[in-house]
């Protein structure tokens, strides 16, 4: 109940006399910021005209770019998650000297420029261990595995960040109780911690998958922008813009925008349900 206060148009906000002078400017700023983003997104439609914007997506080169992006993003996000789960759990639970250094190092791919990350990877494959890997295991430079590797680093850093918060939200007492009920540390992790943090795991995968899908700088530096070979969606947008194929570029941009909206919606649904909780 808000009486004697007045309820504003927004649910959950109680305005007391005089609050309007603060609330309405803040509210206007929020709407203005959202309008700016929406205007930029809407400007894509201006270039499409009355034609079906998604007709270009059916063309073979564009479809190939979409499938390559989906494949590399899924592989990179999956591999990143596989390594991020134990790493994030360690960061969330361990109290050891040097933990903050590990934490900071794992954050670097998020902070550094994607171009710098790609260049670092390229330079690595010029070192003796990198050359040995290229010669004996797998080719990464200017190849599809290079895209996955560059995206993997982005996915790993992002997943560690999201998962660490999720594991920290899992009550450590639940794990302790599970141990006294007969679980080994592995069983407690697999049967208690991971299921409680499952929404955080899903959120980490979705976020890192979306980040990989939209990556341009890191992948293009290591794997190049080779049409029909290492042409992901962002590379395709770049190449089509360079060759003044605006329709194709904008269709791909609309597709990525749509995917971004879906991802953000999914993340908000997961967050509303709670990534991890306590009893």
């Amino acid at each position: 109940m808000c009486s004697p206060q007045r309820r504003s148009a927004e649910p959950g906000i109680c305005l007391i006399r005089g609050d309007e002078k603060f609330f309405y400017p803040v509210h206007s700023c929020c709407r203005g910021a959202a309008a700016l983003v929406a205007a930029i997104l809407a400007s894509q439609l201006y270039y499409i005209g009355p034609a079906n914007p998604f007709r270009s997506l059916l063309q073979p080169d564009v479809r190939s770019a979409i499938f390559l992006s989906l494949y590399t993003a899924t592989a990179a996000a999956g591999l990143g998650l596989a390594l991020a789960i134990p790493a994030a759990y360690f960061l969330a639970r361990a109290h050891l000297p040097g933990k903050s250094i590990l934490d900071a190092i794992l954050d670097v791919p998020i902070i550094m420029s994607p171009l710098a990350l790609g260049t670092s990877l390229l330079l690595f494959f010029r070192t003796p261990p990198g050359q040995w890997i290229e010669a004996n295991l797998m080719n990464f430079v200017f190849e599809v595995p290079g895209i996955i590797l560059a995206q993997f680093f982005l996915a790993l850093a992002l997943s560690v960040r999201v998962l660490k918060a999720s594991f920290e939200a899992v009550d450590v007492r639940c794990e302790q109780v599970a141990r006294f009920l007969g679980c080994t540390p592995w069983q407690a992790f697999i049967r208690v911690t991971l299921p409680i943090a499952r929404k955080g795991v899903l959120a980490a995968f979705i976020l890192s998958w979306a980040r990989c899908l939209g990556d341009f700088g890191a992948a293009v530096t290591l794997a190049g922008a080779i049409k029909g070979k290492t042409e992901t969606i962002p590379v395709s947008i770049y190449l089509n813009m360079a060759s003044v194929n605006i329709d194709k570029a904008v269709a791909l941009m609309l597709l990525t925008t749509l995917l971004a909206v879906l991802v953000l919606f999914a993340i908000r649904v997961l967050a509303a349900e709670g990534g991890a909780g306590r009893a």
């Binding site: 006294f180 080994t184 409680i196 009893a279």
Partner: protein, 381 residues
């Protein structure tokens, strides 16, 4: 059953010092102490969650000091219960039984028993633990811990978040169940009422040390020292000197701040020795105004001024001042008695302190203390 030998552990600047305890099978053992005394740290050290620096923990003769939790065959209910939020109440209860691969017939039998004795019927079929009340969650946590039939159940202030009327009911249920299935329980709390209600044996822990380990009634009547006495709300403590000893009547006359007390001598006190005397507020007897005193009340009867009256619900706390010395004394009386004796702030009254109501505190263990009988409440001269 559980034997803790000279356990010491350091956590930052806090020390658990040389803790030794012995708990028998089937006992409801209670570790009582104020907040910050180190109770939960001791519990976690015994459980193996924290590492001791010295000492060892024996369970049925087996040294479990370094054994991993899953091999100890004990159960633990933490303060926040640690219920698994992604599981239903039934899945929570059955979790340990399934991990330990207990056969389904045994699980069903135990579940039926616990459902009946912990009144789980209305809650066991709920889809989520988030729809449960505090008391229901509590009972689910107990059932989950007990269904695996652990050798000892460790409880860390499990009732602290419950409303008092729900708390009392769950406490009764747990106590009944513990007696019925002969379960050994190690329970940590700062709640004195809970401690005296549930414990078969208790230890009082203050500043990382066990100050007294005894039956609850003994801890209540005869605290081992001044620290324990103060914690157990024995507010009236006097530093006194022994003036004379009457070997015939086993009575000792002491003086404190010019006030002469006669106390029962169970400790063979000598003339000239210094003692610390304690008397509980509820042991102070008010005398009916205007009536002559009985001869046996010629000693330890004092004229007092009522300095303040405090309402404690069903009781009144009366802060009294000795008319001659100015020394204060706290007494508690039932509110009806307070009315009958017409106690008013600034007024006068007479009290009597029975010689056997005193206990000796300083330098004496609980078994040496003098109080031999607890009689509280009304007293007519």
């Amino acid at each position: 059953m559980i034997k803790i030998e000279n356990l010491s552990a350091r956590f930052g600047s806090f020390w658990l010092r040389d803790i030794s305890l012995n708990i028998k099978r089937g006992d409801f053992f209670l570790l009582l102490g104020p907040t910050g005394a180190g109770k939960s740290l001791l519990l976690e050290t015994i459980l193996g969650i924290k590492k001791p620096d010295a000492g060892r923990i024996l369970l049925d003769g087996q040294d479990i000091t370094t054994l991993p939790p899953e091999q100890r065959d004990i159960a633990y209910v933490p303060q926040d219960l640690g219920l698994f939020p992604n599981m239903s109440p039934l899945e929570n209860i059955l979790f340990g039984a399934r991990i330990q691969k207990i056969d389904s017939e045994t699980i069903r039998r135990r579940l039926d028993y616990l459902t009946e004795h912990l009144n789980l019927g209305p809650v066991i079929s709920r889809p989520s633990i988030f729809t449960l009340s505090g008391g229901e969650k509590q009972r689910i946590a107990f059932a989950r811990a007990i269904i695996t039939k652990p050798r000892v159940l460790f409880l860390d202030e499990p009732f602290s978040a419950l409303d008092s009327y729900i708390k009392r009911e769950v406490q009764f249920q747990l106590k009944r169940l513990q007696k019925t299935i002969d379960l050994t329980i190690f329970h940590v709390t700062h709640d004195q009422e809970e401690a005296f209600l549930m414990a078969d044996y208790m230890a009082v822990m203050i500043d990382g040390e066990i100050k007294q380990h005894d039956r609850p009634e003994q801890c209540y009547r005869a605290p081992a020292n001044e620290t324990v006495a103060s914690f157990l709300l024995m507010q009236n403590i006097f530093d006194a000197d022994v003036l004379s000893v009457d070997h015939e009547s086993s009575c000792v006359t002491c003086t404190a701040n010019g006030i002469r007390f006669e106390i029962t001598n169970h400790n063979r006190l000598k003339v000239g020795s210094s003692v610390k005397l304690g008397i509980r507020p509820e042991e102070i007897l008010f005398l009916t105004p205007g009536k002559p005193f009985k001869p046996e009340l010629r000693h330890n009867t004092f004229r007092m001024r009522v300095e303040a009256l405090y309402n404690l619900g069903s009781r009144r706390l009366v802060r009294l001042v000795f008319a001659d010395s100015g020394r204060t004394l706290d007494a508690t009386v039932h509110y009806r008695i307070g009315r009958r004796f017409e106690l008013t702030e600034g007024g006068e009254t007479y009290i009597h302190l029975r010689p056997q109501s005193f206990c000796l505190l300083s330098g004496h263990t609980s078994s040496q203390a003098v109080s031999d009988e607890h009689v509280a409440g009304d007293y007519k001269p």
